[in-house]
């Protein structure tokens, strides 16, 4: 054991002799690993949140299409769908978008007859009830952007051009921002008035199915009955988010991976050509009695120390980047032009997938690049190395 520790001492002393080179390699490697790991963890967090939070979304959403475009659905269809065996309930949903000119944000307006009180921040003494006319509940992002508090009014222009200013009776809690940040919830009757929608039509229909195994069958029956509808099942909805995050994460991972690989090639190129000084030091070690195995062990230790330090520093930096700096390096790109991006907290996480992606990239190229040229030098006659 002491023998190996002495070789380790020699390896670290060797790294410290070229401390600038060692520090630059560790710093650049750590930065690349930090970027890659934080991207993987960020996308994984978003994918996990979408799967968890949307797990209670409707089993089937029925939308009508006309000319390939979304069309409003007759509410009367709900009764016919309800009569399909296996269907538990059908709820006409009324929702849509309003472009908010003062802020440049696109707000989502949602009609609802009730909201769980524990999802709102309300002042003492306030009562909530969206079915009471002229009231609304807004997401944290809407409240911040329009400087709204409970009791304030949100002036809106209705479809007929008249002013409609519902009073804010509650603000959704910040921890639900991923679902409610740009949301304005009001009674369905008020929303119909705002959008100019007649009571006999709805945006789409949410269908509840008793047995999850029958969802596809029910969806097919609905499509058979109304050729101009499309159905979106919960499974498809979740798969959509999976695909979007895979696509986005994949693009950035591909870009970052190419950078990591380019750096690995650079390191390889640098390490495979031993400098004259390194070559001579191997020769001296051999001349004073070191075996080839010990020289290889020395170089292996050098490679492992540099790559392990880079990997661990990179992983820690990734957590700090996500948790403390909110992923500032790529959040802007992931946000796109969204004016109302939800502030959501990322908990630190180090998972097997991230490790399995980062470990080979950080460790294998540098260790191999350190050991292979040293092996070539260590099997050469020490006398000829020193003289050369």
């Amino acid at each position: 054991m002491n023998h190996h520790l002495r070789i380790l001492d020699a390896a670290v002393a060797g790294l410290l002799r070229c401390r600038t080179k060692t520090l630059v390699v560790v710093a650049v490697y750590s930065l690349l690993i930090a970027l890659l790991a934080s991207l993987l963890l960020y996308v994984k967090t978003l994918r996990g949140e979408s799967q968890r939070l949307l797990a209670t979304s409707p089993e089937i959403v029925v939308q009508r299409l006309r000319g390939g475009r979304h069309e409003l659905v007759p509410v009367a269809w709900a009764d016919a769908i309800r009569s399909i065996r296996g269907v538990g309930g059908v709820t006409p949903r009324v929702w849509g978008y309003v472009y908010d000119v003062p802020t440049g944000a696109n707000l989502t307006f949602w009609g609802a007859d009730s909201v769980p009180p524990d999802s709102l921040e309300i002042h003492d003494g306030e009562t909530i009830g969206p079915d009471s006319p002229g009231t609304c509940m807004v997401g944290q992002g809407v409240a911040d952007m329009r400087f709204l508090g409970v009791g304030d009014r949100l002036p809106l222009k209705a479809a007929d051009g008249s002013l409609f200013a519902p009073r804010v009776i509650g603000i959704f809690t910040a921890d639900s921002a991923l679902l409610t940040n740009d949301l304005v919830v009001m009674s369905t009757a008020d929303l119909r008035r705002l959008f100019g929608m007649a009571p006999e039509i709805a945006t789409d229909l949410a269908v509840e199915v008793y047995n999850p195994a029958e969802v596809d069958t029910v969806a097919r029956k609905i499509q058979d009955s109304w050729p101009d509808v499309r159905t979106v099942t919960r499974r498809q909805l979740l798969q959509t988010y999976d695909a979007v995050f895979d696509w986005r994460g994949g693009i950035w991972a591909a870009l970052l991976l190419s950078t990591v690989l380019a750096f690995a090639v650079l390191v390889w190129d640098r390490a495979t050509g031993l400098s004259a000084e390194e070559y001579r030091s191997i020769g001296i070690l051999k001349a004073v009695g070191w075996t080839s195995r010990e020289v290889l062990e020395l170089k292996l230790f050098e490679g492992v120390i540099v790559s392990a330090a880079s990997l661990l520093t990179g992983l820690i930096a990734a957590q700090l980047h996500l948790v403390v700096l909110d992923g500032v390096l790529f959040a802007r790109v992931l946000r796109g032009w969204s004016v109302l991006f939800p502030a959501f907290e990322t908990a630190p996480a180090i998972d097997a997938y991230t490790l399995m992606v980062c470990l080979p990239l950080a460790v294998i190229p540098y260790v191999v690049a350190s050991v292979v040229p040293a092996w070539r030098a260590s099997i050469t006659d020490p006398d000829s190395i020193i003289r050369s």
Binding site: T108, S119, T231, V232, L237, Q239, A243, L340, A347
Partner: protein
């Protein structure tokens, strides 16, 4: 030579100690994250109840265009690009994945398999 002196005089031992410290920080962060997620499970249940009550079907991540705000509920072509992944007015619209499966199918959801 005392154990402390031996430790300080050995750069190898110091390097191992530094690596062990970094590993410990990683483990502490992983454990703290796991505890944080466990603690927020109650909040998540509350949010899930809200999503179920309102029958929400999208995250509020990208609100600049309707087809980005509710990617599973929107038309399968975008406002300016006419098809997903085309150069688009909104940067996020350009990198939404194209639909898989038969694009002419009645039930079309991006990235989802056809029933």
């Amino acid at each position: 030579m005392t154990a402390r002196r031996r430790f300080v005089a050995s750069p190898g031992r110091l390097a191992l100690a530094a690596l062990a410290l970094e590993l410990a920080v990683c483990l502490v962060l992983a454990l703290a994250g796991a505890a944080d997620r466990r603690d927020s499970e109650e909040d998540r249940d509350r949010i899930r109840r809200l999503a179920a009550r309102l029958q929400l079907t999208g995250l509020t991540l990208w609100s600049s265009a309707s087809y980005c705000r509710h990617p599973s509920q929107a038309d399968v072509f975008s406002a300016h690009g006419e098809h997903p992944a085309a150069p688009d007015h909104f940067p996020e619209g350009s990198i939404v994945s194209p639909p898989s499966g038969n694009p002419a199918g009645a039930s079309r959801t991006w990235g989802a398999s056809q029933p």
